[in-house]
């Protein structure tokens, strides 16, 4: 039947209560090497798209850390894998049997036990590059900065280093989705749109939300616009690009490493 997956977690206060009760009865304990191995195979199918190969992170957080914010203990990890974190972009990809759940938990915990390779680069120098490159024009870090792009205060916790590097080099290729409560439902966030108004003038900005008949836009100066689609001449969704300029050819490779190291340090001390 599986009718409204995205809502499953919210709905199922009833179901969840049952599942939790059932989970509590399940055996816990140390994981076997076979569990870790089998969990790795499952992870490769279900989790790797967001959490990266070997859990090193991507559009989803790296799991190669001893303590996970949303899964500090096994009870919490069990709930996260079983139900996802739908309002923060993590779906429950599928239901798991108790064995499969244990195997996934074993693999995720094994990632936390591995020695994390340090991110290449110097975060202190990276902070200077962040300041000198004008990043704060569009991004907030710890309360300071502009609002056109995503807030970065916790970005090092939420994203892997490889993703951060790509977001700097080619930001249009990795627009986030599922990180904000609006627009939700998997829609790309900060999608550039060009609206040609009835009088021929153009508004360019990022899509905040839309429905069948209307579109809400924040332009490059931070102003809000509300459009009735039928009253515009054209609406172009500029898929594949970002309003953020690509910094790949503006930064030396070493500077790029430093900037990634700085961003990876944000929100990391928990």
């Amino acid at each position: 039947m599986y009718v409204t997956h995205a809502l499953t977690a919210s709905i199922s206060v009833l179901t969840l209560a049952f599942l939790l009760a059932a989970s509590a009865a399940r055996a816990q304990g140390p994981y076997s090497a076979d569990d870790v191995k089998a969990g790795g195979v499952l992870f490769g199918g279900l989790c790797v798209t967001c959490h990266g190969f070997n859990g090193t992170g991507g559009a989803g957080p790296p799991l190669t850390r001893p303590k996970l914010l949303n899964a500090p203990d096994d009870a919490a990890l069990r709930v996260v894998i079983s139900d996802g974190i739908p309002d923060r972009g993590m779906p429950r990809v599928r239901r798991t049997t108790p064995d499969e759940l244990r195997q996934l938990m074993a693999y995720v915990r094994s990632l936390g036990a591995t020695t994390q390779a340090p991110v290449k680069g110097n975060p202190t120098k990276g902070a200077q590059i962040y300041a000198s490159s004008g990043c704060a024009t569009c991004h907030i870090v710890r309360g300071q900065g502009g609002v056109l792009g995503p807030e970065l205060t916790d970005i090092g916790y939420l994203r892997g280093a490889a993703y951060l590097r790509q977001a700097i080099v080619d930001p249009g290729a990795v627009l986030p989705s599922g990180t904000l409560p609006i627009p939700s439902r998997g829609y790309r966030e900060f999608l550039p749109v060009r609206v040609i108004k009835a009088d021929g003038s153009v508004v360019r900005g990022v899509r905040l939300n839309e429905d069948v008949f209307t579109l809400q836009v924040r332009d490059q100066s931070g102003r809000m616009h509300s459009f009735r689609k039928s009253e515009t001449k054209a609406i172009q969704k500029e898929d594949g690009i970002s309003l953020m300029p690509p910094f790949g050819d503006r930064l030396k490779n070493e500077d790029l490493d430093d900037l990634v190291a700085y961003l990876a340090s944000l929100g990391g001390a928990r």
């Binding site: 039947m1 599986y2 009718v3 409204t4 997956h5 995205a6 809502l7 499953t8 709905i11 199922s12 009833l14 179901t15 209560a17 049952f18 009760a21 059932a22 195979v41 499952l42 490769g44 199918g45 279900l46 798209t49 779906p91 990809v93 599928r94 239901r95 798991t96 049997t97 108790p98 064995d99 499969e100 989705s177 439902r185 998997g186 829609y187 790309r188 999608l191 839309e210 429905d211 069948v212 008949f213 209307t214 969704k237 898929d239």
Partner: protein
């Protein structure tokens, strides 16, 4: 009481244009208690001032013969009243009988509302145990049935309850099947002559599905027809040599249709269990993902048609089947149409079950069409896998529980088609009563990479006449009216009126929550209204 029956007979024989005036006479004195004998249900379409069954009539066309709200007047629609429901997911279809509206609220509450004022006059909430097992859908309810002075509804803990329509008092309460094994009810029952028909949800826990008929006065079980054959019964050989049939699923979780002339009850069935892993059920898995034609007196199966044999994508075929008449190959025939979750639109001869037409109405990547008998010609490499397999339609289907509509005016079948892919995974499946028995799952390809549309199909050929594009694949039902309109909603909260002939948008309003309730139309005191639940609020619009 006699005068009311006389009034009813008069109503049932007048032309539709006079129905509203007739309703005004019927309603004089603001009589708001219900008396809905079977004879009124049989002719439900001829008293469009009421909405007496789930699909508007036994044909499930979700069509209203009212035309006061029409292409010219629809732009003047405004909110008449709103009713705020209990929190949860709302997928209900209201009924209206003689000035009273009966709705269900999540998960299993029934409320009667005075349609003149929007004020509730009674509400009933059964005791639902905190450890209720609802696996496979949100804990929703899709509406009630009414027969005589009684309102019938199902509960998420597997009960069928009969309430006095005037007070909400309990006439009887029976356990359809034990919820501890995962059986639960989400559908609106279907009331026939002295009988109440229901089906069950729960294939995701490995239930064995069935259709039940209960005596409307006593609640006594009259017959039960299993959707999975037992050893020795026809179709048992489609389950391999193991015991997969015992946990084979085949839920019956949506309301059926009925042809009183043919004396056939049409009930649809859901996916085999486990959903995405067929290792223990090699074969066609009859009678899952099928439509069954049943004798309403005995439950005996007259014919069946299976849409998706050996399903491994959770493509339940429970979608509403609409009954209509049409000309096929030069011959007028009694037809049955369904836009299936698997992406194909089917037309069957509802007398014999013969397959007549099957064409895609949404993107599908799993079949090279259908053979002359309607059996899918399956592509290779579409099965769920450990690493994931991308297939269209998505895991919730090109269609789902949301109702289509058919307009006898335009002879078009209108469907909200969901365009989305899913990466399907195969997993382990271990049966333990009352726990998930699904064997995998899927990851959506959603957001800007998905879409949906309201499509108008020639009902006999499935050929698309027009489409109205939408954004997110949602669960909005459709209502067509004699005013030349089709009403629907969107996942983003729009409620829309389209021109039924052209698909042009004529009116819309933002209601602030996903439109997953089902639209109906009715009239009171000579005025037509359209009701639609959105988010957790029921809105009623009038001119």
């Amino acid at each position: 009481m006699k005068s009311r029956v006389a009034g009813l007979k008069a109503c049932s024989h007048v032309a539709v244009v006079a129905a509203i005036a007739c309703a005004a006479i019927w309603m004089s004195g603001a009589l708001i208690d219900a008396q809905v004998p079977y004879q009124r249900l049989l002719r439900a379409a001829s008293e469009p001032q009421n909405w007496l069954t789930y699909g508007g009539s036994y044909k499930s066309q979700r069509y209203s013969a009212l035309d006061q709200i029409n292409r010219q007047t629809v732009s003047r629609l405004k909110v008449a009243w709103a009713y705020q429901m209990r929190p949860g997911v709302v997928e209900t279809s209201p009924l209206v009988a003689d000035g009273m509206m009966y709705i269900t609220e999540p998960p299993s509450t029934v409320t009667a509302i005075d349609v003149r004022s929007g004020r509730p006059v009674w509400t009933y909430t059964p005791s639902i145990p905190p450890d209720v097992i609802v696996i496979g859908s949100p804990p929703v309810n899709r509406g009630v049935a009414i027969l005589d002075d009684t309102v019938y509804f199902g509960t998420v803990n597997g009960h069928l309850i009969a309430l006095d329509a005037r007070s909400g008092g309990v006439r009887w309460d029976v356990t359809v099947q034990d919820n501890k094994s995962g059986y639960y009810l989400t559908l609106a029952p279907l009331a026939l002559d002295g009988k109440v028909i229901v089906g069950v949800s729960g294939a995701e826990t490995g239930i064995r599905g069935f259709v039940d008929a209960y005596d409307s006065k006593s609640g006594k079980l009259l017959w039960r027809t299993y959707t999975i054959p037992a050893p020795g019964e026809p179709g048992f050989d489609t389950w391999g040599k193991g015991n997969g049939w015992q946990t084979g699923g085949g839920s019956t979780w949506l309301t059926g249709s009925y042809d009183p002339d043919l004396k056939l009850l049409y009930w649809t069935t859901g996916n085999p269990a486990p959903d995405w892993n067929a290792d223990n059920r090699p074969g066609d898995n009859l009678y899952t993902d099928a439509v069954l034609a049943l004798d309403p007196e005995t439950g005996k199966m007259k014919w069946h048609f299976q849409f998706t044999p050996e399903d491994v994508h959770d493509w339940d075929s429970n979608q509403v089947v609409i009954l209509f008449e049409g000309t096929v190959a030069g011959r007028e025939r009694k037809l049955l149409g369904q836009a299936n979750r698997n992406g194909f639109y089917y037309v069957l001869d509802r007398e014999t079950g013969a397959f007549l037409t099957g064409v895609p109405y949404a993107k599908q990547t799993w079949a090279d069409g259908l053979d002359p008998k309607g059996r899918p010609i399956r592509k290779k490499g579409i099965a769920p896998s450990l690493e994931g397999t991308l297939v269209f339609p998505n895991i919730q289907g090109a269609a789902n529980w949301h109702s289509p509509t058919y307009s006898p005016q335009t002879k078009l079948f209108y469907q909200h088609a969901r365009e989305m892919g899913t990466i399907y995974y195969k997993g382990d499946a271990v049966y333990k009563p009352g726990t998930a028995f699904t064997g995998g799952g899927g990851r959506y390809v959603n957001g800007d990479d998905a879409s949906s549309a309201i499509r108008a199909l020639d009902a006999t050929t499935g050929k698309m006449k027009w489409e109205f594009p939408l954004l997110s694949p949602g669960f909005s039902s459709l209502l067509s009216t004699a005013g030349g309109l089709v009403f629907s909603g969107t996942e983003e909260g729009n409620f829309i009126a389209l021109d039924a002939e052209t698909g042009k948008s004529l009116w819309d309003i933002q209601l602030g929550g996903p439109v997953r309730g089902m639209p109906i139309s009715y009239a009171v005191d000579g005025k037509q209204f359209v009701a639609i639940p959105a988010g957790t609020t029921l809105f009623v619009f009038g001119l």
